[in-house]
């Protein structure tokens, strides 16, 4: 069975813990955590990931900048990206999707929604 890898980029330890708990429900998914956008890019440079789940509001480098950088990187330009944010307006959603995000989840997150989104993007049954 194929094994998948996921990079979680989130500055809140609590949210990271929650996302790790949720994504542990997806079979054969290995999860790596990054504290912010810079840490995320560092980890992306050293390994290949099948999907990225990132918060928008983070210090040092926010999620939108991270999405732009990832999309300009040939190695990860096609990697699915899920944006998680407190902003629920359609303009924010459009902005994130225009930058290249594949899905958009608003806080407070619901674990089943995160699981379903990741499974859908990875095409896991």
């Amino acid at each position: 069975m194929a094994e998948y890898s996921c990079l979680i980029v989130e500055d809140s330890p609590m949210m990271r813990q929650l996302l790790v708990f949720a994504l542990a429900r997806v079979k054969n998914l290995r999860v790596t955590e990054a504290d912010d956008g810079v840490d995320g890019l560092r980890k992306l440079a050293s390994a290949r990931y099948d999907i990225i789940v990132t918060d928008i509001n983070m210090p040092i480098m926010d999620g939108l900048k991270l999405v732009k950088r990832v999309r300009s990187d040939p190695q990860h330009k096609d990697t699915p990206i899920v944006i998680i944010t407190t902003e629920g307006s359609s303009e924010d959603r459009q902005r994130a999707l225009q930058l290249g995000a594949n899905a958009y989840i608003t806080k407070p997150i619901q674990a089943p929604q995160v699981i379903a989104t990741v499974k859908e993007l990875l095409k896991i049954e």
């Binding site: 813990q17 929650l18 949720a22 089943p112």
Partner: protein, 281 residues
């Protein structure tokens, strides 16, 4: 002249022969007629036999066709019964499958709730710094409950006022001490019972009609309150998970804060072993 006697005609049959001849002719004619009648009757009988054979063949064919139809009807009835049984089995299987899917969804949802509670509890007790505990309480409110504007208050020693110790999304002039005797937050402090707008849209809460007010307890004493004025716009309703989080915050947030404060007051020194010696029950 002598009358010459005419010789008698030699072909003239005698009377008896004539009679015999006539009788014969009559008999012959009768026989001939009978033979003709017999032949005609024979012809009719042959015709009748042919007709009966045809009728017989037709009836045999009809009987065979009827048998085939009867067989077909029986086969159709059997197939209909099998179809009904299969449909019934399919319906039962679908119902069972739906039940499994529903149950799976419920279990996943319950797991998510438990994960939320575990993470919240874990975070609240993961630090002995009052500032860090306060930040973690705010994280639980913002990230797990989806609170956008809120404030946390602790009661003064005399219990007359609630003093804000943390807030988010509120203008400075809104974050002021509250009178316990005259405010809704004070009422919650006095009663120890949470007030939650269960039916309304919590994102539309106001300082006058907050979405929720939660009592904070330490060792069964109410020492403060959390006032959630409004949630994020996309959070339109509190659910079971929120009520469980409210209960957890009410029972653990103030305790975590008190523990952290006492730890700092003790110079961040862990108590010695002697502090635990008499704890056996």
């Amino acid at each position: 002249m002598t009358e010459q006697r005419k010789p008698a005609r030699s072909d003239a049959p005698p009377q008896d022969l004539r009679r015999e001849r006539d009788e014969f002719l009559q008999t012959f004619t009768k026989g001939s007629r009978l033979a003709e009648e017999f032949l005609a009757e024979h012809e009719r009988v042959q015709e009748r036999v042919r007709a009966l054979e045809e009728e017989n063949a037709r009836l045999r064919a009809q009987v065979q066709a009827d048998n085939a139809v009867r067989d077909l009807v029986e086969t159709i009835a059997r197939l209909e019964a099998e179809k009904a049984e299969l449909l019934s089995r399919t319906a039962r299987a679908e119902a069972a499958s739906t039940q499994v899917v529903t149950r799976f969804s419920e279990v996943e949802s319950e797991f998510a709730h438990l994960a939320n509670l575990y993470v919240a509890s874990n975070q609240l007790h993961a630090s002995l710094s009052p500032r860090s505990v306060t930040r973690r309480i705010k994280e639980v409110l913002a990230q797990l409950v989806g609170a956008e504007r809120y404030a946390m208050y602790l009661a003064t020693g005399d219990g007359a006022q609630l003093v804000p110790i943390a807030s988010e999304g509120l203008a400075g002039d809104r974050v002021i001490p509250l009178d316990v005797a005259t405010t809704r937050a004070g009422e919650v402090l006095r009663s120890g019972s949470a007030v939650v707008d269960e039916d309304g849209d919590p994102s539309r809460g106001t300082p006058e009609t907050p979405a929720a007010i939660l009592p904070l307890t330490v060792d069964e004493r109410v020492v403060g309150v959390i006032v959630i004025i409004a949630t994020l716009a996309q959070k339109k309703r509190f659910d079971t998970n929120d009520f469980q989080l409210f209960r957890l915050l009410g029972q653990h947030a103030a305790g975590a804060l008190v523990s952290a404060s006492l730890f700092v007051a003790a110079g961040r020194r862990l108590p010695g072993l002697e502090a635990f010696i008499d704890l056996s029950v």
